[in-house]
Amino acid sequence: MIRVLFFGPVADCIGARQIELPYRDGLRWQDVRNELQPRHPEAFALVSIVAVNGERVRDEEGAPLADGAEVVFMSSFSGG
């Protein structure tokens, strides 16, 4: 299982803070995005930062996810 988390404006836009997707061999975070983006285009229009297991990942970084991985799609931060 892959746990996908949302916070702040992205969570509000999706209407959920967590979605679980089935794990499959070779799955990358980009595949997760490609699966969810068409269902939530407005939310993903806000996404500019992605983290896998608590670490930021760049667009070109596409190592396969492990079963149980946590993927987070985030908008720009506004703390402070």
Binding site: L5, F7, P9, I49, S75, F77, G80
Partner: protein, 141 residues
């Protein structure tokens, strides 16, 4: 006293944070602080409350990294960072940063650097609650 880096729902005491910072070493000759608080007016609208959401484990880890980086980069003796989450009413405290160094310049420089980096790197989001509705805040440069 709590940890040097914290995310918490409740308010904090600036005096207690500074006391904890000073208690770490008598080599500290300069302490700089930054206090961020909730304005009651933003973008032409009255603001009653600000709501903070965070990806908590990553936010805490990033704050820890920022503190360690600031200590190394500015040769600080100690630094503390506290950020509130949840609902913060207008006029209340949001974030407190305190930096201690042998001299004032690195303490002041580090304090400014820490709040700027916090805004860019720590996964926290701010929503302004106004009499006419709610809106997530777009980051300011």
């Amino acid at each position: 006293m709590g940890a040097a880096v914290r995310l918490q729902l409740e308010d904090f005491s600036q005096d207690e944070e500074i006391r904890a910072l000073r208690a770490t070493s008598q080599r500290i000759g300069g302490i700089a602080t930054f206090l961020g608080c909730a304005r009651d007016f933003s973008e032409g609208r009255e603001v009653c409350e600000i709501g903070f959401d965070a990806y908590r484990p990553m936010a805490l880890a990033e704050l820890e990294k920022l503190r360690a980086e600031a200590i190394a980069r500015f040769a600080l003796i100690e630094a503390r960072i506290v950020h509130r989450l949840g609902a913060v009413r207008a006029g209340d405290n949001i974030v407190f940063i305190a930096t201690g160094a042998e001299h004032r310049a690195p303490a002041l420089d580090a304090c400014r650097w820490l709040i700027d980096e916090l805004k860019a790197r720590v996964p926290i989001w701010k929503k302004e609650i106004t009499p006419s509705g709610e809106a997530w805040v777009t980051p300011h440069p």
